[in-house]
Every structure is written in C-alpha cells, then in structure tokens.
C-alpha cells in the first residue's frame, strides 16, 4: 500500500485541504468500524502515540491512537491556518507540519514564488523530507492551490518545483482552482499564466477547477432541496457538498460547500488505491493512461451523483443516469463541454455496487455521442472499487483528457494580454528581485504552445480516418 502527502498552499489551498481531511476522516470512520489502523488509513494518516515524548514514532498496526494527517500546510499569512488549528481538526495536524508568515503575498505571484520561495526553501524541504520519511512507500504528492492569488499560485508552484527536484520518482498531482472572469483580484490573470508555465513543466497531472462550476453545482443542489419534490428526501450526508461535522454547531462557511466538492474529487480519485475492488485503478495508472503526451496533462473531472435520494432500491435506469450525468456540461468542475470537443482519453472510476456489465453497457451506450481522437478510438480506462462513498450506494468519477480545456486557457491568455499590453500593474512584479519581463513573455509563450497543441488535435476531429499502413512481411 502506498502513501500520499497533501501539500496545501495559500488560503484556497488550505480551505479546500481542510475540507478534504474532514471528509477523509468521515470516510474512513464509516469503513473502519473496528478502530484498527489499517493499510487504507495509512495512505493518508499516520498513527501516532502522542503520549510519548518528542515526535511520537508511527505505530503501524493495532488500534488507532491518534491520527495525524500526512500534510504540509503552507500560507504566508496566519489567518486561515490558525482557524484550522482552532477548529475541530486541530488534533489531526502536527504543529511541525505548518509553515506560515504574517504579511501574505499581496496577490503577487512574484512575491510568493521568488521572495517567499527563496526565504522558506530550506524549511519547506526539511519538512517535506520529514513527512516523506514517515512514509513506507510514498507514491504521490497532492498539491492544492488557487491560480489567481499570490501565495497559492506563486509559492505553490515553487513547491511544485521543489517536489520535482527532491522527489523525482513521486507523482505530482495538482488540484488548481482557476479564477473566474469576474474575479475580484485584478492581477489574477498574471498570477495564473505565470503559474501555468510551472504546471506545464513540473506537474504530472493537473485537475483544473473553476469556482463558477462549483458554484453552479451548489446552486443546483439547493434548488433541488428546496423544491421539495414529494417522496424524494435527500440523504443529508450524501450531498457532494456536505461537510462531515457530526456537530453542526459550527456554521458552515460560505465556500465550504464548494470546497467539499473538490475534497470529494480527491477522495474518489484515491479510493481505488486505498480500498479493494475487482479492477483496481491506482494513481500511477491514472497518469499512465490519461497523459498521451507529456504536456497534455490537464484532466477535466466530473463527479456523480451529486446526492442520493433516500429510497433504497436503485433501478439500473438510475445507474445509467449517473453515467450520462458524468458527461453532461453541468457536472464538469470547469466551464467546459467535453461532449462537443475531442477526447484524447477518458477514465471512469466507479465505486460501490456497480459491476463490469453496467460499466460496459454504459460505455457502449455513450460512446457514439462522444468524439475520440483517431488513434484512441476505444480509449477507456476503467476502475471498479467496492467501497462506495459515505451516503451513497455507488458513485462515478470521470476524468477526461479533452480539448475542451482549450477555451479556459484561451480566455486566460486573453485576460492576461489585456493587462499586459497596457503594462498594467507590471511594476509590482518587476520590482521583485529575480523577476524580469522575460518571465512574462516566456509564460505566455508556454501557454500559447499548449493551446496550439490542443488546436492541432482539434483539427484532426472528424477528419478522414485512414489507418496507417501496416508493416508488410515477406512471405
């Protein structure tokens, strides 16, 4: 069994990360009735005896004493991290896993990346090493940050670089929250494009998320709940947006519902690595199957169902609906429509009481309406995990390497160019030591190259598909 470490950077990263740990605990509590520290738990948690002095060596078997998250919390201002440490999750984090400062990055990628990066490099590396040492077999780093700000975007991508240098063999999965068009941070396009270059070059897989999509999903659920359809009561803890809290005394913060969706994404992504199933799908398989060319590693994700109705019997029609929803525009976690763009690869990870025949039937059913690239006409990666998420009998995570990310990137470039042409706010960046104009031009070039790669693939869509001629053998 392998372990994964979560590195949460900046306000967004830490708030999402916090929701992740909350829901992870809930999921394992539901599965692990006996309170034994098992392999599944060890993938994200250490079992520590806090009574012993010092670090508390990890306990590998036996009862759970105290669970510590395999995480690194980084923020250049203290507010968010302090709130976590005072909240219900305070015991899950080790004080030695935190790196904080006071003044923040001022929404400036350069400050986050160059100034704080330099300042905290040694500290970060040391803490990463420590966390890695506690792992028997470290497989993956999950980095969570937003793209639009200064810390998450700047320092987060700096950490990504460090991870590649210090731990080249360990996978780097980045969950990046992209700014929406009406973002209140004016310089978010700069920060995002500068960060994109880093993601292009140093991440193994990126799961882009857009707040707008999360917001739409949250609204959809609210509407469903409030419409109060007769006979359809939703199981409260089945909402993809719900928090774990047994005590709902603490009022849910505004972004909590949206962040829970992202947290659920990560849980589902790793479910087959942690729990058993008839067709396992590990994290290294995700990277292997979904990244046909090194730079095209942006995966559009969707989660279904968004909630479960309380009635127990699930006719297979509803099961099929789950599959259909996964491909619909309004279930994607970015503003994109994969159905009308070109698929390079697609992965379906099913959890719970779903069998291979259900999977096959739905693939057959949905395939005709999807466009796959000519060299990967039947490119499906499938996984079956027996353990469903809390509150559900089954669920589906769809990951698509699809050219529908192109519009998101093109818009980002447009917003960037609008500022850059006027050189607006540029001086804030250039006055940082180590920042030059070339950083900007290189970054936008990197983005343009990426867009161009997607363009070339799109050009092949629907074109004539003559198979390349085979090798001829002399008889």
């Amino acid at each position: 069994m392998t372990q994964s470490v979560v590195v949460q950077v900046g306000q967004c990263g830490n708030q999402v990360g916090c929701r992740f740990w909350d829901l992870a605990l809930r999921e394992h509590a539901a599965v692990n009735k006996k309170g034994i520290y098992d392999e599944a738990l060890s993938s994200f948690f250490r079992n520590v005896d806090t009574r012993s002095a010092g670090d508390g060596p990890g306990i590998y078997k036996g009862k759970i004493c105290s669970l510590k998250a395999r995480a690194l919390l980084i923020d250049m201002e203290e507010g968010v991290v302090n709130e976590i440490l005072q909240g219900p999750l305070r015991d899950v984090f080790d004080s030695k896993q935190l790196i904080t400062d006071v003044s923040g990055s001022g929404n400036n990628w350069a400050v986050g990346h160059k100034v704080y990066g330099c300042q905290y490099q040694e500290n970060i590396v040391e803490k990463l090493r420590k966390t890695a040492e506690h792992c028997d077999c470290l497989q993956c780093f999950f980095v969570i940050h937003s793209m639009g700000g200064g810390t998450g975007s700047g320092l987060g991508t700096f950490v990504l670089n460090l991870l590649e240098d210090e731990f080249p063999e360990v996978y780097r999965f980045v969950t990046a929250v992209y700014p929406s068009g009406e973002d209140d941070v004016i310089t978010s396009p700069y920060n995002s494009v500068l960060a994109m270059k880093e993601l292009n070059e140093h991440a193994d897989c990126v799961l882009p998320i857009e707040n707008e999509s999360l917001f739409d999903i949250v609204n959809k659920i609210h509407q469903m709940m409030n419409s109060g359809k007769l006979g359809s009561t939703v199981k409260p803890n089945s909402l993809v947006t719900s928090s774990a809290g047994i005590t709902k005394a603490v009022q849910e913060k505004p972004f909590d519902a949206m962040n829970n969706i992202v947290a659920n994404l990560l849980l589902n992504l790793t479910s087959s690595a942690r729990f058993e199933g008839s067709l396992n799908m590990d994290l290294n398989e995700i990277s292997m199957n979904l990244v046909p060319f090194p730079r095209l590693h942006y995966l559009v994700s969707s989660l279904t169902p968004l909630y479960t109705l309380a009635d127990v019997n699930v006719p297979s029609r509803r099961l099929d609906q789950m599959f259909s929803d996964a491909f619909s525009r309004d279930h994607q976690l970015i503003q994109a429509d994969p159905k009308h763009s070109l698929y390079l690869a697609c992965a379906l990870l099913v959890r719970g009481n779903v069998q291979v025949s259900d999977l096959r039937r739905n693939i057959e059913r949905l395939k005709p309406s999807l466009h796959f690239v000519s060299w990967n006409q039947e490119g499906w990666k499938t996984g079956l995990c027996s353990v469903p998420p809390v509150g559900h009998s089954h669920s589906l995570l769809a990951l698509a390497n699809n050219t529908c990310v192109k519009p998101t990137f093109m818009e980002l470039r447009d917003r960037f160019m609008r500022l850059y042409k006027k050189k607006a706010h540029l001086h804030h960046y250039l006055q940082v030591d180590g920042m030059e104009q070339s950083c900007f031009s290189e970054a936008v070039l990197s983005l343009s190259d990426l867009i161009e790669e997607y363009n070339e693939l799109d050009a092949t869509k629907g074109g004539p598909r003559a198979d390349p001629s085979r090798l001829k053998i002399a008889v």
Partner: protein
C-alpha cells in the same frame, strides 16, 4: 506429475483462485456419475496434479502468487482459506507496494530484474515440492502492467531456469472497448515476448466470456467474479484428469506434455483457443439432457465457423470440398469465414463417453495438409462427469480462431503508435521505439503465418 501455477497481477490472481475453487468443488461434488473407484482415481490424479497434502489435511495449492501491490493477494489468500476445502501456502507469494501502473515497461524492465531472485526462489521451492514436475501454468492478463510486463519477464526466467519443462501461458484478452487505454501496446509487447519463451498461449477473451454470461447463463448483472468463474470452469474442463489413450487404464499424468505434443507441432503456431459446451445457468442443469452426437455436431460447427459460443453458430460455413484444392478456394474460404485448423483436441467428460463418435473431427478437410489427419486430431475422455454437467465437451484448438482478434489488437496498437501517443511513458523505463517495432514485426509474422494456412 504436478503442475505449478504462477498467478501474475490482479487478473492472474483473481482467476487463479477461481480455478482452484472450481477444481476443488468439482472433486468434492457428488456428481461424478461414475463408480466409486473411478471417482477415487480421479480424485487422486487431480490431487497429484494441483495440490499438496498438508499436515492439517487441507490441500495446499501448488501455486506462486505474484503481484506488485498487496490488496489482491491478501484478498485471494483469505478467500481461499475461508473455503475450508483448500488453501494457498502462506509463504508462496510475493508482492510489492506500488503496482506497475499499467506500464508494461515498468513491469518488464524495472520490477522484473529487481524481483527476479525472490520470485524464482518461490517457484523453485514449489517445483521442488513436486515428485515430478509436469510444467508451469501461468495466468495473466495482457492489458495491465504486472501480469503483462512482469509476466513476460517471469516466463522468460522460467524458460531459462527450466529449459526442458513445459510452459503454458493462460492469457486474458481485455474487452475491445477498453479497460486500459494502453492495453493494445501492452498486449503487443506481451504476446511478442511470450512467443519466444512459452510453449503455447491459451487465450480467453473477456468479450466472449461476457457474452456467454449474458446470453447463455442469463446473468443480468455480470461481475468480474462471474466472468472468472466461467473461465475457471472452462480451464477445469481441460485440465482435470482424463484418459488420453483409447484403452486408458490410468489417468494421464502429463497433461501439459500431452497437450503440447498434440497441438503445437510447429513453434510458429502457438495460439490456442478454447471452447466448452454446454454452458448454462446452474438451475437449468437438472432439466437439460444432451446427447453426444448433438454436442459433437455443435462443437465441430463452432470450430469450422469460428463461433465463440453455442448460440448464433453459422451453419452455412462448410470446409472446402476435397476436389477444390485450387488456390482460389482460399478466397472462398475467407469469404465463408472457414476456420482452418492445424491441430485439435477434444475432451469429453461424463456419461457414455465411450459411445461418442468423433469421426467428424478427423475429416481431413478441416486441417492444413502438413499433418496426417490422425495426428492432427486427439481425443481425451473420462466417464467421470465434470462440475455438475452430465456431459461436457471441450475443444482446444490450434487454428485461425484467434487470427482476427490478434489482427485487431495489432491494428489498434499500430494506429496509436503511428501518432507516438503514450510512447514517452514506455521510453521512460527503457522500452524504446525499436523495441515496439520488433514486437510489431514479430506479431505481423504470426498473423501472416496463420492467415495463409
């Protein structure tokens, strides 16, 4: 003689345990439909072949379990032990933590050499426990990373360490519409490498077994367990004890050797297909009766028309008439999809097998001209019924059965290779483009050879 089974990867281990389950439940079921003495001989022969008697009285399977991550093996071990009828040796397994990531190159060039010693030690131990080693039976899928890549490496090691032993690879072909996106690459690399070290490849296709589950067994929701149980039943129908000689007094003791001798006359032709009839849901068994002429007729037509199961057989296809040995009959054959055989083996189990007439299988027009028809066809029988089926007939065939599936896999892999997609994932671990080309070439050769039969 005893067989050592090597279960590789998730698929190999999941199927392996179903195979031992099927064998055990066949032996312990009371549906032998034969004399007590017969039953006992059968039981003894089966035990010698697959199990070791342990002090606890529970037979221990002669198997080595290999996987690069621990979940499946621990599940397999515990499910086996729970049955109470048999178990695996507690020490006969090897696993790692991280898996192979569906990467053939990772399985072959990284895990293979790294763990060669440990794995071969386990195999050696199992081999030494056999009074006489009858050969190796490996179970693997070709779509993933461990079964396929590490499996190919281990097969090579087996060949090097046991140069005169028989090696039969049981290979699972994935669903055509994808279980793994790089499955065609992994398949091409696996098959080309296995061809060099293995004696024969016995193939099961997931699509075919799935159809059997859906249409013949009437299953609504089909799980991998269901698929694996059908596969296990079919394998059991081949490898459970039989009499290979017409007047056999003792059960044959060298199943792999006999199989290779009858079916693989030429090293270029190693692809074996398997058909087993009848297949039906268990609760229908009591209400069905079959006759040997009926079963044999169906099986023969399944061979000729390349039918995957006993429903939907095309009865129009006939072997070429003896007079028309002109080259043009080639294209007519292709038109009618006639399946030319090199060699066939039919195995009959159950009531009145002595009365079953297999003359229609000896028809020379079924075969290529190289072998005498008498040599091209063999029959194994036993009056002992198998797995609750009053009569059961299996066909193991070295013919054009797998030509089209193989061609499909190579075509799709080549298509992807032309765009170089995913190749960087393999070169990362030392499998270069030349290695791919070598594999493609090897398989095009096999396809060509089978096509011009």
């Amino acid at each position: 003689m005893s067989l050592v089974t090597v279960q590789l990867g998730q698929c190999g281990n999941q199927i392996g345990r179903e195979v031992f389950n099927a064998i055990c439940s066949d032996v312990h079921g009371t549906h032998g439909l034969c004399s007590k003495k017969e039953n006992e001989s059968y039981h003894d022969a089966c035990k010698e072949r697959f199990f070791i008697e342990a002090e606890s009285g529970v037979p221990v399977a002669r198997a080595v379990l290999v996987d690069m991550e621990p979940k499946v093996i621990s599940q397999t071990l515990s499910i086996a032990a729970k049955s109470g009828y048999w178990k695996y040796d507690d020490h006969s397994h090897f696993c790692q933590k991280q898996g192979s990531g569906n990467n053939w190159a990772n399985g072959y060039t990284v895990h293979g050499p790294r763990h060669k010693e440990a794995i071969m030690n386990l195999v050696q131990k199992e081999a030494e426990k056999c009074d006489r080693l009858g050969g190796f039976f490996t179970i693997m899928s070709m779509a993933g990373g461990t079964g396929s890549g590490l499996g190919a490496f281990v097969t090579q090691c087996l060949r090097d360490a046991f140069p005169s032993s028989f090696i039969l690879n049981h290979v699972i072909w994935p669903y055509g519409t994808g279980e793994v996106i790089v499955q065609n690459y992994n398949s091409v690399l696996t098959l080309s490498h296995l061809y060099q070290s293995s004696d024969a490849l016995l193939v099961h296709e997931n699509d075919v077994i799935h159809k059997i589950c859906a249409q013949l067994m009437h299953m609504k929701q089909i799980s991998f367990k269901d698929v694996n149980q059908v596969i296990a039943h079919q394998l059991g129908s081949v490898f459970q004890p039989t009499y290979t000689a017409e007047d056999g007094i003792h059960y044959s003791r060298n199943p792999l050797g006999d199989l290779m001798e009858t079916l693989v006359p030429h090293p270029e032709f190693k692809m074996l297909g398997l058909r087993n009839i009848p297949q039906m849901p268990e609760n229908s068994l009591a209400y069905s009766t079959f006759s040997w002429p009926g079963l044999i007729k169906h099986l023969r037509q399944m061979l000729i028309a390349n039918a995957k199961m006993e429903e939907g057989i095309d009865w129009q296809v006939q072997p070429p008439r003896p007079g028309s040995s002109v080259p043009s009959s080639h294209s007519t054959n292709k038109l009618l999809h006639f399946n030319t055989s090199i060699a066939n083996l039919v195995i009959l189990r159950g009531k009145d097998t002595h009365s079953a007439d297999l003359g229609s299988f000896r028809d020379p027009s079924l075969y290529t001209s190289w072998l005498n028809p008498q040599d091209a066809f063999s029959a194994w029988k036993t009056p002992r019924a198998f797995n609750k089926y009053e009569k059961s007939a299996s066909l193991v065939s070295n013919s054009q059965f797998l030509l089209k599936p193989l061609d499909n896999v190579v075509r799709k892999a080549w298509n992807m290779f032309a765009s170089k997609a995913y190749v960087h994932q393999y070169t990362k671990y030392g499998i270069e483009e030349e290695d791919f080309l070598d594999s493609f070439t090897a398989l095009e050769q096999v396809i060509s050879s089978y096509t011009i039969l």
